[in-house]
Every structure is written in C-alpha cells, then in structure tokens.
C-alpha cells in the first residue's frame, strides 16, 4: 500500500492506495486519513479485501485505539464493505455515513461502532480542534452521498466524483489534464445519473477554496486542475445509459 502525505500542518492528510497486492479483479481505490493530535479519521476505508493492508498502513501513523472515526461517502462495497472488520477491531469509534443508508450499511456488521447518521443537508466531523465539513453530493453517484471538505487544508475528498479507472502503478496526481480526460469520461457518464444533481454540486463546490480535489479512484487534482475538472464536468452529459 502506497502512502502519500498530501497535507502537513497542525494536522495531516495522508492518501493510501495503489495496493500492489490487491486481487486483480477488484477496483483499485484511494483511502484518505486525517490525523490530528489524538484522533484519526479514515475516509472511505475500502472493501473487506483491503482491510488488512489498510490497517497495517494506518498503524504507521496512529495506534489502533486512536482510530476514532470512519466516514463513508456512500454505501458501495468498494467504499465500506470492510466495516464489519473495523467493527471488531475498534473499541471506541464512530461511523459518519448518510442517514438514508443506515439500515443498509448495518448489513456489513456495525455493532460496536456507533453509526452517526448524516442528514441530507450535511453536517460536520470534529476531530480535536479541527472541524471538517460534510458537503452534500447526492446522486453523485449514490442517492445519499457526501464529500468531506477541510477548509484549513483546502482539500475536498470527493468520493467517486473525479474518479478514473487506471493501472495500479499510475501517479497519484494528474500531470496532464487533457490526457486524463479519457480515463474519466466513461466513468462519469455511466455512473453519475443526474445532470441536475451535477449542476447543483458544481455550484456549491465552486464556492469552496480548494487546493486538492481527492477522489476515491484514480488521481488527485491539484491547483488549476481543480478548476479544469469542474469546467470539464460542467459540460459533460451524464446518465447516458437511458
């Protein structure tokens, strides 16, 4: 599992991914961790296949008992099917996840972890003195979907928005936006169902000050590429399967 520190300040952001040992037939995913003095938040911690490498990777940054918070942007298995395993490993943790998915996500096993339902209008996660914003991203692609914005680090963890399907050894940042488009187009057109939802999200996100857009698959966007992505996405027709 590759680890890349993407922000270092009063707290840290670390990106985990590009796991060379993952089974070939499951989609590669990026996991993000925010580390504060005494706490640790895992965002979209991944599928159950990824649990052991992910846990081992996190242990480079925090002890198990300080993994206090999990976040699931939506209900997909690549996002959170590891929940039942985290549930048995963590003794004092919360899962922040869309309220409408609670009854569904509990199928993965959620007995000792406290499910903190995120209402449709969003909310926040407090870690020590840090406050992260939960930005609604419904229908992108899941009907109950949130992104995490850190106003201090200026990072938006954007779930499946900005995702690209790429080989396991590709770099973690987009280096040539134009050539990256081909790797994102089909994913967004096919998985994202609603042009209306897309427009609402873009409007909301354009108001945020973002240095890094961090999707759950593929590469992160930095600096001007964030705006390039929003412009490209704005002009894209989605929901093409009907």
């Amino acid at each position: 599992m590759k680890m890349t520190k993407i922000y270092e300040g009063s707290h840290q952001w670390i990106m985990f991914g590009r796991d060379q040992n993952k089974p070939a037939n499951i989609i590669d995913s990026n996991q993000y961790v925010v580390r504060t003095t005494n706490r640790c938040l895992l965002m979209d911690p991944g599928g159950s296949e990824l649990f052991a490498p992910m846990m081992a990777a996190v242990l480079h940054h925090a002890p198990v008992e300080q993994i206090t918070d999990l976040f699931a942007s939506h209900q997909d298995p690549d996002v959170i099917s590891s929940l039942g395993l985290w549930d048995q490993a963590l003794t004092n943790a919360k899962l922040h996840a869309p309220a409408i998915w609670e009854g569904f996500l509990r199928h993965f096993g959620c007995d000792s972890i406290e499910y903190v339902p995120i209402p449709d209008h969003g909310g926040s996660i407090k870690l020590d003195s840090l406050e992260l914003e939960l930005i609604p991203a419904h229908y992108l692609h899941s009907s109950g979907n949130f992104h995490v914005y850190d106003p201090q680090a200026k990072i938006l963890m954007s779930g499946d928005v900005g995702a690209a399907l790429e080989p396991i050894d590709s770099p973690v940042f987009v280096d040539d936006f134009d050539s990256h488009i081909d790797k994102m187009r089909y994913f967004h057109q096919r998985w994202m169902p609603s042009n209306q939802a897309k427009r609402a999200w873009i409007e909301r996100v354009r108001k945020l000050d973002i240095d890094i857009l961090a999707p759950q698959h593929g590469r992160m966007f930095k600096g001007d590429d964030v705006k390039r992505f929003l412009d490209w996405f704005d002009g894209l027709q989605v929901g093409i399967a009907v």
Binding site: S48, F51, A52, P53, M55, A56, L59, H60, H61, A62, P63, V64, E65, G84, L85, Q88, A89, L90, T91, G109
Partner: protein, 202 residues
Amino acid sequence: MNNQTKSQFVAVASITSELSAVMVVAKEISLAAANAKAIAFRAGDKAKGFQPITDFINELAKETIDLVTDINVYALLLYRLTVNEYRRTGAYNRFEIATKLAEGALYGASMQAPLENARARMQDCQRQFKRDVAHLLSQLEAVMHHARAARVIAANSRIEASQAGEYLQSLQAVAESVDKAAHTIHDNVQRCRVALSIYRSN
C-alpha cells in the same frame, strides 16, 4: 470460506430442512390417531384394546411436534452462532495478516489487543457451538426415542387390529401408517445426528 466452515453451514441448514419433513410426518401420525379413534369408537367392543393405543399415538405425535418446534428454534440459534463464528474467524485471520504486515510500523504493537480479543471471541464461539451441538444431539435423541416407541405401538396395534373383525383392514392401515411415519422420522433424525456428530468433540 474453507471446507470446514462450508460443511458446518450445510450441516446446520440441513437440520432445519430434515426437521420440517419430520414435522409433516408427525402431523400425519396425529391425523392417523384421530382417524383410528373414530374407527375404534364405531367398532365398539371389537376394538376395545385399540382405544387406549390411539390416545397413546396421539400423545406421542403431539410430543414429537412440540419437541421439533423447540429444536427448530434451537437450530436457528445454532445457525446464527455459525454465522457469528464465521465472521469472528474471518476477522481473526485478517487481524493476523494486518499484524504481520504492520511489523516495523511505529504503532504496529497496538494491534496486539484487538488480535487477542478477536482470538478470544472466536474461541468463545467455537466452545459455544460445541455445547449447543451436544444439547441439540440430546434433543434429537429424544425424538428418536419417540419414533422407536411409535414403532412398538404400531406393532401392538397390528395385534389388536386382528381382533377387530370387519374393522381389521382399516385399523391395520392405521397401524401401517404409524409405522411408516415413525420409520421416516427415525431416518430423518438419524441423518441430522450424523451431520452434527462430527462437531461434537473435534
């Protein structure tokens, strides 16, 4: 899922299906008993010896039904336990891998506590499963006992039926159906016991 776990799931699931067949047959016996009672009543003195037998058959069928109802509830618990054990064993195995992968990590040692807990929880489940299997086996033994008793009664019924004159055939048919049903129950329950017995002590 390894073969041991797979066959455990199958063994527990097969109990429920075997027992639902037992239930159907036990209800048949109870019906046969009611039928026999009516015939014996019509036969009057000719079937005097048969009357207490019908009550006995009926009683036996009822007890079997109650017992099987209890066992079904228990089998469901055992199924949940199997699911739990599967989950806990899976977690323990993955915790072991994580612990190995985390060797040399700054906080790798903090994985020890969850690993120990997971092991203890898994072993708890295994012990509980063995206890529950032993209990279930003794309940199944009780059903077998009932089935054997029913076969003895069926044999007695045949003898009594032979004294019943023109009712001989219909009473013999009753004895026949009780015997057949008891046989079926015996076989089904025996299959449950065989499926479970390998989990009793190993």
